[in-house]
């Protein structure tokens, strides 16, 4: 299968909210067909950067371009066929069934009045199979657990069938079991379809394990990027999070693993 390629980048992007500039000139190129993770301390602008990339907020200067065109200039529906975003807390409508909600992801592929066509059913069924929620199709969304709900939202983004998928903290508020499960499913998606995934994650160790590429932000600026083994070192982690830590090798994945050093319970000087 031909893997889709796009050029998706930000050039000196500055963005923020009403009176506060959060992102202060970030330039980056999203690697194709890879899983990229944006990390950084609270308030460093991770989510803002993701929102600006998804055209939800307009950069006050600089540019965010997809295949050479500023994302704000691409017609929304056309953009939505290439670039999808799962917001951090989408709002659950009351009483809707899982299949209908997943089907809403088909909007950019449908005309205004058309009902579901064959390809819509195909896409919804495929998305639900990938997320393993087919048997929940006719349940009401309000009956589901948090982990199941999150899978429904991701299925909705999958039904959108975009080449690039942005996710804002897809694992927040989930138990560790579900966190790993969601990240595994996203990795399946990336491997099978070549979907370029960009996500904001809170957990640095899961980021180090699942990311092909990490972007680290600090106070609205990109301070380092690269493979997890290059970015996750004790000095870097100290720079990014202001955390004193030891980095060891994750015994399961071989990726870097951050062990924080607090003021208590420290047995010996670790060699990092």
């Amino acid at each position: 299968m031909m893997k889709p390629t796009h050029t998706f980048k930000t050039e000196a992007a500055v963005a923020g909210y009403d009176h506060k500039t959060v992102i202060q000139g970030v330039s980056l190129v999203i690697p194709n067909n890879k899983i990229s993770v944006i990390i950084g301390a609270n308030g460093c602008g991770k989510s803002t950067l993701l929102k600006a990339m998804a055209r939800l907020i307009k950069p006050t200067s600089g540019e965010i371009t997809l295949d050479g065109k500023p994302v704000n200039k691409i017609p929304p529906k056309q953009l939505a066929r290439v670039l999808g975003l799962l917001p951090q807390s989408p709002i659950v409508p009351e009483g809707i069934s899982v299949a209908d909600l997943v089907g809403r992801g088909r909007f950019p592929h449908q005309s205004w009045l058309s009902g579901w066509r064959k390809q819509d059913y195909e896409a919804v069924a495929e998305a639900m199979e990938i997320m393993d929620i087919t048997e929940l199709a006719n349940h009401h969304i309000d009956e589901l657990s948090g982990g199941q709900r999150q899978r429904v939202w991701i299925a909705m983004a999958l039904a959108q069938q975009t080449d690039i998928l942005l996710l804002d903290e897809p694992t927040t508020f989930l138990d560790i079991t579900y966190q790993v499960e969601i990240l595994d499913l996203l990795t399946d998606l990336n491997r099978k379809r070549g979907t370029t995934i960009v996500m904001v994650l809170h957990d640095i160790n899961l980021s180090a394990r699942y990311a092909d590429h990490i972007f680290a932000l600090h106070e609205g600026k990109l301070i380092v990027e690269g493979e997890p083994s290059e970015v996750i070192t004790s000095e870097r982690v100290n720079q990014i999070f202001g955390l004193n830590c030891t980095v060891i090798k994750d015994p399961v994945s071989g990726s870097p693993f951050v062990v924080p050093r607090g003021r208590y319970h420290v047995q010996q000087e670790a060699t990092s």
Partner: protein
């Protein structure tokens, strides 16, 4: 495996579609029955064949006047105003994701009423001038609310609060106007504060009928966009919805219908507020509830008007009956909100 899943999903959707069609069909049947009742019932009950003949233009002494001049305009006013209130209320509630957010609560109706009362008590205007002023005032009120609540990022909470604030101010204006107004103008003004189908005239109806016929398709066509707006600004936007344009189109269409209906019948209490939730309870989610909500609105208005006319010793205007029906639901919502901490 894939085909099985598709079949499973299709079966569920077929079932929900069937329920939608069934409920919508029943609502239409009820509507037809109520419309017939509106034409047949009155001080004198004429035989059906006479009513039909009068409607088709034959001149029959007594019957023609009662049916064509009194009952038909009353029925049509209730039909179109009920539909307008129902569909517009549903649109607001869905768009703002809040059952309290409807044109009555956020001050649009108060804007219309205040302008009408001003025209009647101060300018001593009547008829078309009052209607036009109330429509314009409704639109102006919603424009003010929208822009005040906009900031750089649209906020629903801000919109509702500003609307409630504006409503309080407009209600104060109305009370003041009624206090200083001349005695003989008060009854005409009161009609703008409680909805009533009394005295509806055929030649007053075309603006409302045109508004409903033109704007309903807009709301229906934007149904899918509305469904996505319900998921929140970010989700809708990232699925390719022009959120601002869609919202403006939906607000203008709904307010247009509400304002025209208010100009014709006065604000019929709670219809805009009750229709959406009732339709949703009956139909379920999954397919657009705009049309069912409009139909529920018609049934509420016509049903309440029939009750108001015939159930008691005294005749009550329709707004009093819908008010009695709606108030307990509002209380229920507030109690639920208090218990859950949210709606």
């Amino acid at each position: 495996m894939r085909n099985q899943s598709i079949e499973f999903i299709m079966a569920g959707r077929r079932k929900r579609r069937r329920r939608w069609s069934l409920v919508t069909g029943l609502l239409v049947m009820l509507l037809v029955i109520l419309c017939c009742a509106m034409l047949l019932l009155g001080n004198t009950i004429y035989p059906i064949q006479d009513v039909v003949r009068a409607l088709s233009g034959e001149s029959i002494k007594g019957v023609s006047f009662a049916v064509n001049t009194i009952r038909l305009p009353r029925m049509l006013a209730g039909l179109f105003a009920g539909f307008a209130f129902g569909i517009a209320g549903h649109t607001f509630q869905t768009m703002l994701r809040n059952p309290l957010a409807n044109p009555n609560v956020i001050g649009i109706t108060s804007g219309s009423s205040a302008a009408a009362v001003f025209c009647i008590t101060v300018l001593h205007a009547n008829g078309a001038v009052v209607s036009a002023a109330s429509v314009l005032a409704g639109l102006a009120t919603v424009t003010v609310i929208y822009f005040l609540s906009r900031g750089r990022v649209f906020s629903i909470g801000r919109l509702i609060l500003i609307g409630i604030g504006l409503q309080a101010m407009l209600d104060a204006v109305i009370s003041y106007l009624l206090l200083v107004g001349a005695q003989q103008d008060i009854p005409a003004a009161i009609r703008w504060l409680t909805g009533s189908l009394n005295g509806s005239q055929l030649d007053e109806l075309p603006p409302l009928m045109i508004a409903v016929m033109v704007l309903t398709p807009v709301v229906v066509v934007l149904g899918k966009h509305l469904d996505l707006l319900e998921l929140g600004e970010q989700a809708a936007s990232s699925l390719g919805v022009h959120t601002d344009k869609t919202r403006v189109a939906l607000i203008l269409s709904s307010v247009g219908m509400i304002a025209m209906a208010t100009a014709t019948t006065g604000p019929i209490a709670f219809v805009a507020f009750l229709s959406g939730p009732i339709a949703k309870r009956l139909v379920g989610a999954g397919f657009s509830n705009a049309i069912p909500a409009g139909l529920v609105g018609v049934n509420l208005v016509l049903g309440a008007d029939l009750i108001g006319q015939f159930a008691f010793e005294t005749r009550f205007p329709v707004g009093v009956i819908t008010g009695i029906l709606g108030a307990p639901y509002l209380v229920f919502l507030l109690i639920r909100m208090n218990r859950r901490g949210s709606l």
